[in-house]
C-alpha cells in the first residue's frame, strides 16, 4: 500500500502574500542556528519566534522548525493564526526539494515538518501568517 499525504496547494496565495510582504523589514541573519529568535511581522501585528530541532540546523539531514506566533501588542499567543512556511536559496534560485507541512501544536506554536537543507549557503525562511482576515509575513535568513 502506498501512503501519500496531501500537500498544500497554496502557491497563488503565497505569491500574493509575497507581494504584500514587499515592505518586510530587513531580514535577520543567523549563523546556522535558530534558537528562538524573535521577529516582528511585516504588518507589525505579530511577533514571531523561530527555533529549530535540532540546533544548529544539520546539513543535508531532516530537521523541524517550531514557529511561535504572538500578538505584538499584548504578547498573547495566537493559536488561531494560519501559518505557511517556505525555505529558499536566493543565491541559487531554488528552494528545498520538499514541501514542508505545518502542524498547529497549540498555544500559538506551529511545528513545521519535512524540512531538509541539502546545500550549505544562504537560506531564507519566509513565514506567512493569516490572522483576523489580514496577511503578514516575516523573513529570516540562515547561513549554513
Amino acid at each position: 500500500m502506498i501512503r501519500r499525504r496531501s500537500t498544500l496547494t497554496l502557491l497563488p496565495f503565497l505569491a500574493a502574500l509575497a507581494a504584500c510582504a514587499a515592505s518586510t523589514p530587513a531580514p535577520t541573519l543567523v549563523d546556522g542556528e535558530l534558537t528562538g529568535q524573535r521577529v516582528v511581522s511585516s504588518s507589525g501585528a505579530e511577533e514571531i519566534t523561530l527555533r529549530t530541532i535540532p540546533q544548529p540546523i544539520p546539513l543535508n539531514e531532516p530537521f523541524e522548525l517550531v514557529v511561535g506566533v504572538f500578538d505584538a501588542e499584548s504578547g498573547a499567543p495566537c493559536p488561531e493564526a494560519e501559518v505557511f512556511v517556505r525555505a529558499w536559496m536566493p543565491d541559487h534560485g531554488h528552494g528545498m526539494f520538499r514541501q514542508p507541512e505545518v502542524v498547529p501544536a497549540g498555544s500559538g506554536t506551529f511545528e513545521v515538518k519535512g524540512l531538509l537543507f541539502h546545500m550549505g549557503g544562504r537560506w531564507e525562511f519566509s513565514v506567512d501568517i493569516v490572522r483576523g482576515g489580514l496577511a503578514s509575513s516575516a523573513t529570516v535568513e540562515v547561513h549554513l
Partner: protein
C-alpha cells in the same frame, strides 16, 4: 596560550560538526579531532600548498567516509548470505530475455562498475548513461532521476525494462525454482518459494505492463489471482534485496585524498605528500573559487539531490528529458518504494522521505549529483555521457560553452568560472586523487555457487 588555541580548535570542531557537515552518525564520523596542523594560527606549513584554517576545517569534513548507512527497508541488507546470492544473480544472464544480459553488462567492474559508453546498452540502447555502482549504497535516491528510493527497488527496474534485461517477474521466479542450488540459496534466506510448479496459477512469463494492457505478459499477469501476484512480487522484491546486499559492498573509502586528510590530522609529512602540489591546488579551488563543494559536499562528495547543470542533450535538440520532474512522480507511485508492503520499514523515515516530496517546474531537467569518489575511472560523464573526460567536465563549468540556455529552473549560481588551463589541470589532479578501487577484486566475478560456503555462514551466525 596553547590551551586557548586548543580550546579554540575544539569549538571550531563543534561548529564544523554542526554547521558544515552531516552529523557523526552519517557522514562525518571520526572527524571530531583536529590535528596539530589545524591548531596553528596561520596557514598550514607542512603542506605543499598553504591552507588557511577555514579551508582545513572544510577539508577535514570531507574524510573519512564512514561505512554505508543502514537500509532499514531491506532487513537483508547486511546479511552476507544475501550478498553472496546477490553477487551470483548480478552476473547471471539467465535473468534476461534471451539469456544475454546481466547487471554486469552495464555495471562492469573492469570499467569502474559502469560501461565506458555514453548511453547504456542492454537488449537495446538506453536514453541515459549507466551510473557507476561505486558508493551507490550512500545514495538517498537511485537512478539519474531518483525514481527509486532504495537500492533494492532500483535493482528491479532494469530487470523488467524491455531495453535492459527484458525479463519478467514470474519468469525470474521460475528460473530460481528450476535451479536446485539457486532455489536452496534463495529459500535459506527468504523462505519458501510459492507453488510455481502449478503452471496455471503461475504463467511462464507475466508482469504488469501499465502502458500496454494488451501486452501478452500483462494479460498473463492479469489472469493470475491477487494472492499469487503478490507472492511473485515478494520473490521479485527479494531478488532486489539480495542484489542490493551485494552492491552495498562496492565501496571506495581509502583514496590518496583520505591519506592526505589523515596527514593533516596527524601532522604527518609522509601522508601529506599523498597529494601532489597540483592536486592540493585543485583541492583549494574545489573549496574556493570553483565552489564545487556546494553540490559535491561531504565525505562522499555529493549532496545526494538533483540539479540542472545546463548540459546540452547528447544528440542535440531541446532538453526533453524531464529528469527529476518525472522521477518524483514515479518514486511516489512506485509499488516497491520505501512505504510499500515490500519495505521492511514502511513508516517513519520512509514516509518522511516520500510524503514531503513536491514536484515543481524547477525539477525539470534536474539530475542527481554523482559522488566524485572514483570519478577518474568512470568516464564518460553527465547523464548522457556527454563529456568524455574530467577536463571536459571542468571546462563545462568554466565556460558553459554549448550549454543549454539559463532559465528560471537552472541553478543561478552556475556562472562561468573562467579557469585557466593550469587551474583546470589542478582540479583534474585533485579529482584523480579520489580513486580507490581496492574493493573490486573480490567482487568482480560470479561466485561458484549461489550459497555462501558453510564456514562463512557459521561465522555470520556466531
Amino acid at each position: 596560550m596553547r590551551l586557548l588555541r586548543l580550546l579554540s580548535g575544539v569549538s571550531v570542531a563543534l561548529a564544523i560538526a554542526g554547521c558544515s557537515a552531516p552529523p557523526p552518525s552519517s557522514a562525518n564520523a571520526g572527524g571530531a579531532s583536529l590535528g596539530a596542523a589545524v591548531l596553528d594560527d596561520g596557514p598550514t606549513t607542512l603542506t605543499a600548498v598553504p591552507f588557511e584554517r577555514s579551508e582545513v576545517e572544510r577539508i577535514l569534513a570531507l574524510s573519512p567516509l564512514p561505512p554505508p548507512p543502514a537500509d532499514p527497508t531491506n532487513r537483508h541488507a547486511d546479511d552476507p548470505r544475501a550478498a553472496h546470492l546477490g553477487q551470483f544473480l548480478f552476473f547471471d544472464t539467465r535473468f534476461s530475455a534471451g539469456g544475454v544480459v546481466s547487471c554486469a553488462n552495464c555495471h562492469d567492474p573492469n570499467t569502474g562498475w559502469s560501461d565506458g559508453l555514453q548511453l547504456g546498452i542492454g537488449i537495446d540502447e538506453l536514453d541515459r548513461h549507466s551510473q557507476t555502482l561505486w558508493n551507490a549504497a550512500y545514495n538517498r535516491w537511485f537512478f539519474w532521476d531518483g525514481r527509486a528510493d532504495s537500492m533494492w527497488s532500483q535493482a528491479l527496474g532494469p530487470l523488467e525494462d524491455p531495453r535492459e534485461h527484458g525479463g519478467n517477474r514470474t519468469g525470474f521466479a521460475h528460473t530460481i525454482a528450476a535451479d536446485p542450488e539457486l532455489r536452496s540459496a534463495y529459500e535459506s534466506i527468504f523462505g519458501a518459494l510459492p507453488a510455481l510448479e502449478e503452471g496455471e496459477r503461475f504463467p511462464a512469463a507475466a508482469r504488469p505492463v501499465a502502458d500496454d494492457p494488451e501486452h501478452p505478459e500483462n494479460v498473463a499477469w492479469e489472469s493470475m489471482g491477487e494472492a499469487d501476484r503478490e507472492a511473485v512480487d515478494v520473490v521479485f522484491a527479494n531478488m532486489g534485496k539480495a542484489l542490493a546486499a551485494f552492491q552495498r559492498k562496492i565501496v571506495s573509502r581509502h583514496s590518496r585524498f583520505d591519506e592526505f586528510v589523515e596527514g593533516l590530522r596527524e601532522s604527518n609529512p609522509t601522508k601529506l605528500r599523498s597529494l601532489t602540489a597540483s592536486a592540493q591546488n585543485g583541492l583549494k579551488l574545489f573549496l574556493g573559487k570553483a565552489n564545487c563543494h556546494l553540490c559535491h559536499q561531504g565525505p562522499n562528495f555529493t549532496d545526494r539531490e538533483f540539479h540542472n547543470t545546463r548540459i546540452a542533450p547528447l544528440r542535440g535538440g531541446d532538453a526533453y528529458d524531464a529528469g527529476r520532474y518525472e522521477g518524483i512522480a514515479l518514486v511516489q507511485s512506485s509499488p516497491f518504494n520505501g512505504t510499500s508492503v515490500h519495505s521492511d520499514a514502511p513508516t517513519g523515515d520512509s514516509e518522511t522521505k516520500i510524503d514531503y516530496l513536491i514536484q515543481t517546474g524547477h525539477n525539470w531537467g534536474e539530475f542527481k549529483t554523482p559522488s566524485l569518489r572514483n570519478v577518474a575511472v568512470t568516464a564518460p560523464y553527465m547523464h548522457q555521457g556527454q563529456l568524455a573526460g574530467l577536463r571536459d567536465v571542468v571546462r563545462h563549468y568554466s565556460t558553459f560553452e554549448g550549454a543549454t540556455p539559463i532559465h528560471q529552473h537552472a541553478e543561478t549560481i552556475l556562472v562561468p568560472l573562467n579557469l585557466s588551463e593550469g587551474e583546470i589541470d589542478d582540479l583534474v589532479a585533485f579529482l584523480q586523487s579520489l580513486t580507490d578501487e581496492s574493493a573490486s577484486p573480490a567482487l568482480s566475478s560470479a561466485p561458484a555457487s549461489p550459497a555462501l560456503p558453510t564456514d562463512e555462514v557459521s561465522r555470520f551466525r556466531n
